[in-house]
């Protein structure tokens, strides 16, 4: 399993942009305030992140493109992430989700999340509406959803050292 590409529309400072993810180490560079950490936020968000604090926002609508001096704010944020190299045998979609079975044969999958200004949100797998639970259970099998050591946000690296012994245990159990 690997990240193939991501399309962002109206997500934070990205009015519309697409990224292709290479293999190996990719360095993301750019001036202060240009939008590098927003890319990390987009990946966390499309994988189902619910905490506004982790997304550096006061409320979830703050992730929707808020406009600039020359552009109006948008009414919706949408991020689609294409994941490749899936092993169909690994994907155990629970029957209850009503998702078509051919989903489980695909090598690739596109996960989409949308949020409207009115607070309504949508989740889609290969353009078919689903629930967050479905995305979560899909990701569980690929370990892409596990937070532990997958994402280290800016300024957070020392967290594990400063945490209490009890909290460290929980952080490590998350990885197990």
């Amino acid at each position: 399993m690997h990240l193939k590409s991501m399309n962002m529309m109206g997500f934070k400072s990205f009015a519309e942009a697409k990224i292709e993810f290479p293999e190996g180490v990719t360095a993301v560079v750019g001036p202060n305030g240009s939008g590098k950490s927003n890319v990390v936020d987009a990946i966390l968000w499309v994988l189902g992140e619910q905490s506004t604090k982790t997304l550096r926002s006061e409320k979830m609508e703050d992730v929707i493109f808020n406009g600039t001096e020359l552009r109006k704010p948008l009414g919706m944020a949408e991020v689609s992430l294409v994941i490749g190299g899936l092993d169909p045998a690994m994907m155990k979609l629970d029957g209850g989700s009503g998702l078509p079975s051919e989903l489980t044969e695909a090598q690739e999958m596109m996960i989409t999340r949308r949020l409207y200004r009115n607070g309504e949100s949508e989740y889609l797998i290969n353009k078919i509406h689903c629930r967050l639970k479905d995305i979560r259970s899909l990701l569980l099998d690929t370990r892409a959803g596990s937070k532990g050591h997958t994402v280290i946000a800016q300024g957070q690296i020392d967290q594990i050292l400063n945490a209490s012994p009890q909290d460290r245990r929980e952080l490590i159990e998350e990885t197990a």
């Binding site: 399993m1 690997h2 990240l3 934070k12 400072s13 990205f14 009015a15 942009a17 990224i19 993810f21 290479p22 293999e23 190996g24 180490v25 990719t26 360095a27 993301v28 560079v29 750019g30 001036p31 305030g33 240009s34 939008g35 590098k36 950490s37 927003n38 890319v39 990390v40 990946i43 406009g67 600039t68 001096e69 020359l70 552009r71 690929t142 370990r143 892409a144 596990s146 532990g148 050591h149 997958t150 994402v151 280290i152 800016q154 300024g155 957070q156 690296i157 020392d158 594990i160 050292l161 209490s164 012994p165 009890q166 909290d167 460290r168 245990r169 490590i172 159990e173 990885t175 197990a176």
Partner: protein, 164 residues
């Protein structure tokens, strides 16, 4: 479950000591299981599970606790634990946002050395302002705001970056 935790803990302990040794040649580090101290009022804490203490000793030093480590030593120690947990339970991708900011040139070299090893089986997205970290990357992409407030993605070659 308890057996699962203790198996993971042993593996993590071993890898942490190993990666710490790569970051601090000659230094020594380990994890310790500690019972939670009783609360101020003497009541045992209801928590059955022990917590995890981190002991880290850079080469030649005799530190009493990790609170006495320097800013860069703390970051390197935290990275050793992060990479150790990645090694025992690898994930398909890993996003690191400016974790090299407090490091000096020599430690950037050690960090990127281990990073290259780990990136053989996973995708690493590393946000950085450090030229040395950029120079070891397999590929580079830039985020810019030619139009103020609107981010765009551009492909960048290392040569494009203005010299220091």
């Amino acid at each position: 479950t308890k057996e699962m935790f203790s198996a993971t803990y042993q593996e993590l302990q071993q890898k942490f000591t190993e990666v710490f040794g790569q970051f601090f040649p000659g230094g020594r580090a380990e994890l310790q299981l500690v019972d939670e101290p009783p609360a101020e009022n003497g009541e045992p804490s209801g928590n059955q599970e022990p917590g995890i203490e981190i002991v880290a000793q850079p080469p030649g030093k005799r530190l009493k606790s990790i609170t006495m480590l320097s800013g860069g030593e703390k970051t390197l120690t935290a990275m050793a634990l992060l990479f150790a947990s990645f090694l025992i339970r690898p994930t398909p991708f890993c996003l690191l946002d400016e974790i090299d900011a407090p490091l000096d040139e020599e430690n950037i070299g050690r960090f990127t050395g281990v990073l290259k090893e780990l990136a053989q089986n996973a995708q690493f997205l590393v946000i950085t302002h450090n030229k040395r970290t950029m120079s070891i990357a397999d590929s580079l992409f830039g985020v810019t705001m030619e139009e103020p407030g609107v981010s765009k993605l551009v492909s960048v070659r290392l040569g494009d970056l203005q010299p220091v």
